[in-house]
Symmetry: C2
Subunit: 412 residues, 2 copies
Amino acid sequence: MLKSEIIAIGSELLTPFRTDTNSLWLTQRLNSVGIEVKLKTVVGDDESRLEEAIRDALRRSDAIVSTGGLGPTEDDITRKVFARVTARQLILDYDVLGEIRNKFASRGFQMTPNNERQALVPRGATVLPNPNGTAPGLKLMQDGKLIVLLPGPPREMKPMFDDYVMPDLEKMSRGVRLSTRTLKVTGLGESALDDLIAPIYKEYSNPSTTILFTDSDLEIHLTAQAETAGRAEELVDELADKLSDKLGANLYSADGESIEEVVGQRLTLKGYTIATAESCTGGLIAERITRVPGSSQYFLGSIISYSEDIKVDLLGVNRDLIDSRGVVSGDVAEAMARNVKEKIGSTIGLSVTGVAGPGGATEGNPVGTVYIGMADDVGSSNRRMILPGDRHLIRWRASQAALDMVRRRYLL
Amino acid sequence: MLKSEIIAIGSELLTPFRTDTNSLWLTQRLNSVGIEVKLKTVVGDDESRLEEAIRDALRRSDAIVSTGGLGPTEDDITRKVFARVTARQLILDYDVLGEIRNKFASRGFQMTPNNERQALVPRGATVLPNPNGTAPGLKLMQDGKLIVLLPGPPREMKPMFDDYVMPDLEKMSRGVRLSTRTLKVTGLGESALDDLIAPIYKEYSNPSTTILFTDSDLEIHLTAQAETAGRAEELVDELADKLSDKLGANLYSADGESIEEVVGQRLTLKGYTIATAESCTGGLIAERITRVPGSSQYFLGSIISYSEDIKVDLLGVNRDLIDSRGVVSGDVAEAMARNVKEKIGSTIGLSVTGVAGPGGATEGNPVGTVYIGMADDVGSSNRRMILPGDRHLIRWRASQAALDMVRRRYLL
């Protein structure tokens, strides 16, 4: 497989406040045409270190992609240093200069002289147009290796890469195509998952299989290589199908969808509507459901009953029930679900009550204790969980478990 | 200033799914004792590239910090490669081995032989205990340079660094101390902010000033250097005070707090309570308010009225008002705020109605149109905004503007 390196340039990326995230997207694109990323470097506006990083990369890799440092200020050293390492003159390109000048003029500004810098092109390099900004990108071949210089802002970098770099990479990596698939799994621990599927995926070296944790789930990443994209996809399909059969209802997505998207699709298909009654999640479930465009088709509303009085007064939970069973209890969770369904007039009521911490723990309900309630026309049910993690993670995991309870109820 | 480099080790960090985030925390710690981070490298489980990265770093920098690759598998190459580069033998440390064995035993497991690897120590290195995992860290001096090898998981890496590495760094960087401050600003655009404060901060080269965008705000980062921590803090205080005076109510936090924390403090101090009525934000404001531990002191609940019927039936907004003014209007926003205050019995009612997109735009209300309503015992008001960005950003910015409206109302 061809090898690549990514160099992210800019002193702000060496502060505690900013990190390079462009490289994740670039890695996905490079991998898709069978090019491995072997090293990533983050370097500041520091000529000698950048020069060294470029020299090392050129020696080791078939393609080098840099992001950042193409702007108009003196700190923007990318053009200059790449030109020096590749022993090319920097030539002022009058076409590029004219375009930059026009961009300023069209916004009613006069171009300042420092912007001329952005029209400097290493001899023999191809200029990559930037419809979303002033700094053009650059592309050059050096000793059979591809060098690509991209601007840092993602909305400038991404379309430029897809339009002007991907075709070259596809040509370079002729004969190797990758296909990847992400299977998202919920309701299983890591070792239980591995026990279940290792006998299947260990039979395959292509696709390769990696299991990663996320905040609430496990993800199975499959990557297949073949000479054509179609064959790579067939290989991924074959293993993905076998794993899906084995995982059954524990698999909630095989194409990158979030659980709120999956739930939304099920509800749309069924023509059902949903409402939530939330205590410790504080609106997180409603917020996640409404992240999905078009969720107004199935999401009607919520009552966030953070205080006990609101559970009684607005949601109509019986005060005696709260006093006898406790506000964090399965009976209260079910009552919340039933009542929000009735008050809002939805097909389904979904509720959470629990202890997200750090305070609020009681004798029988340690931090992390969460009851999820669900009600529909058939009846109501609840589930108790003790979730690990800090306040943020407990709330997130509770919202995930609640959404998953809906998904599993309406699988078919 | 002393120079450092950070090397993150592990092939999973070269996939599209994972990025190195440990380095942000490490950078903050290194900076705090006056040590600059000059380069970051992400390298896979690849001996030759790691070896090269270490050699380059040793040549250029005073301190090298690596994370990852200390586990028990063959892929964990960190120990071996650092030993090779520093020309040290790897010696099996029986004390370390005993401790690892005990950790397994205490959990009722037998140590597998591959875990012996974790007890290999380069000659002359100091072993750093790991109370939160099995892999110990390592620390060594090579030609006057400090090399630190840390495990990858943040909860193992962070306490180890603070307990066993920070004291060495403080000694190394004697005579340089940094103090940093982050001022968070809302309600001002970038150029308006710069116009306002540039005349002040340009007078200072120490502290240095950097302005960064976030999703909804601007952050002003100040960094001062001095011979003592106290003097560095005085320098930061002086500029921070001048900027704060100039920024007035636009400054919402000078110590890293989020706007929901600031609002929570104001409400606690006043003894006020709050409830929200949310349409396009779908519960995000309630969710943000309840991220703060102890928010049950001032947050009572919410009515998420995503559908028009819920706005009428549950929130009691007049149907004629909706028909005549439109559901996305200032009058409806105010009615939502007044009604949620009354229904929930809070001091303050806060509401949002708008078009988060991608659908839902109308003639007078393009995507991004948001009305924020607020009501208290004095009266009610509303504010119209047209927010840029995608669905996610519009919702986030609307929640930020809503929380900011409360903050500004109860500044004093």
